[in-house]
Symmetry: C2
Subunit: 301 residues, 2 copies
């Protein structure tokens, strides 16, 4: 396992089919599931670790984002990564960044509405990763459902020969979607945050019973979350899975997504996939035991 710091070194190292797992570090089982999948499919597996300032609209969120490269390297290695690519800020942005990538429409609603320029930052840094690393396949979690739609659109419309794969959200055994930001929750905030997944699961059950109206599904989430006064919903929206455009009625693949502030400072997102053309629901996968985010000292497999 190599830890490399420049695009050039990564390109020179990579051989055969290349799988990239872009992360902001502080890996959890959601990331590890992506690495596992990449290791199964690709000859060279590259995990990038870079906290991208361009996609943060909140300086506090950026400053308090957890990091532990040594732990990330150990975890990535255990799960079959060949390279951890940890570029410096200077490698990623050697000059003031004047060039940006914008994905209209797909990036407009939900996160796009609540986090100004967030997706410009995401699309720009992912373009850089795809251009500089040249992967054949790139793996993203479905927890960031709109991000997945943005990146998929961007790669196709920029003629990049990269196959973008989305994998199911990984959850704690009690339903909380894994996120590096969960480490910032106090125990009582963590308890409150459970209403988010519980609300989504309730809506998913309603969908399973035949409900196709977005307003009814969104209301089902609100009804549950309202029970936790410490949780402030920013939005609950049903959106088309490919275009991320809000929809009134579910007729094909879609996701029901939300964002919320939990306690004073932590902002979380979550969603479930629902597909009216097949009637299927994908709420993600649950861990058997506690997440490594809260686990012991030895994160290795």
């Amino acid at each position: 396992m190599k830890v490399l710091h420049t695009f050039r070194d990564v390109r020179e190292f990579a051989q055969g089919s290349v799988g990239l797992v872009p992360t902001m570090g502080y890996l959890h089982e959601g990331h590890l599931a992506l690495i596992d999948e990449a290791a199964e499919r690709c000859e060279t597996v590259i995990v990038s670790v870079f906290v991208n300032p361009l996609q943060f609209d909140d300086a506090t969120d950026l400053d308090t984002y957890p990091d532990d490269l040594e732990r990330d390297v150990e975890l990535a290695s255990c799960h079959g990564a060949d390279v951890v690519f940890a570029p410096s800020l200077t490698e990623m942005y050697p000059t003031r960044q004047r060039t940006t990538v914008t994905v209209a429409e797909v990036a407009d609603a939900m996160e796009g509405e609540h986090r100004r320029d967030h997706f410009v930052g995401v699309a720009t840094v992912v373009t850089k990763l795809f251009s500089g690393v040249r992967p054949d396949v790139a793996y993203f979690g479905r927890k960031d459902a709109q991000q997945l739609a943005v990146v998929t659109t961007m790669a196709a419309e920029l003629s990049m020969p990269v196959h973008v794969v989305g994998l199911p959200t990984v959850r704690e055994s009690d339903g909380l979607a894994l996120s590096s930001r969960n480490t910032r929750l106090t125990p009582s905030e963590r308890h409150d945050a459970l209403t988010l997944s519980q609300g989504l699961f309730a809506a998913a059950r309603l969908f399973g019973e035949g409900e196709r109206r977005s307003a009814a599904l969104e209301a089902a989430v609100r009804d549950v979350v309202i029970g936790s006064p410490g949780v402030q919903l920013e939005y609950v929206t049903v959106a088309d899975a490919s275009t991320a455009a809000p929809i009134v009625t579910v007729t094909g693949p879609a996701f029901l997504a939300l964002a919320a502030r939990v306690g004073s400072s932590v902002r979380l997102i979550d969603n479930v996939f629902i597909d009216a053309s097949t009637g299927t629901v994908d709420t993600g996968v649950k861990l058997d035991g506690p997440s490594i985010l809260y686990g012991g000292d030895d994160p290795c497999c």
Copy 2:
């Protein structure tokens, strides 16, 4: 020599070091100089021919843009190209294009001011060409000086491992800068258009004599062009060669650029490179005889 129509076919064909010459077709000696250089340096030479609607703000200009693929293929082949990549509109834009690439600042002045969204169209299509073809080197003419600065900035800031090379403007023996749009000039308009290069040459002489004030150099151009009432200057600007930012005094590498409408419908651009750090002037290279744009039936070498 192959004519290929898809990115996939081009990537599969390319071997060894790859040189790309992006064009909008209707090749002239300016393009051929780029192809010659690529053929000398690269193992696979790809000439792309695509009239990109995204970079035209003027529908008439787009509709009347000359094209002759058969002739382009013959010329490119004679000069050592291995592939002419002629993508269809559907290959280049399979869906409505929601993803765009913006280069702030470098694209703002001059052409950016007079052709709304022109450089967004250029940066987006060049990103697609670089992403889909994956060249090692890409060749552009210095006649489009600001475009060269935009593309160079974009490739670096998107971490693309592409070396962008700019080569001198090629001119008719009487000084007119080669452009596919020249074919649309009437004989009298063509005569009027000569004042553009004559104005730039006059300013270049002044620079050679030690003048470093942009206003004086710009005035020298205007003094000559004013003699042709059929020529309407849009701008004359001295700009930094790398950032394309207008400058008041020339202290390093720069270009003196202009755009003008000649007659009723043709818009032309031209420039000279001036470098105060070395005192050098580059007005481009002149052809010995008439350009193939006006030449005989057999364009081959």
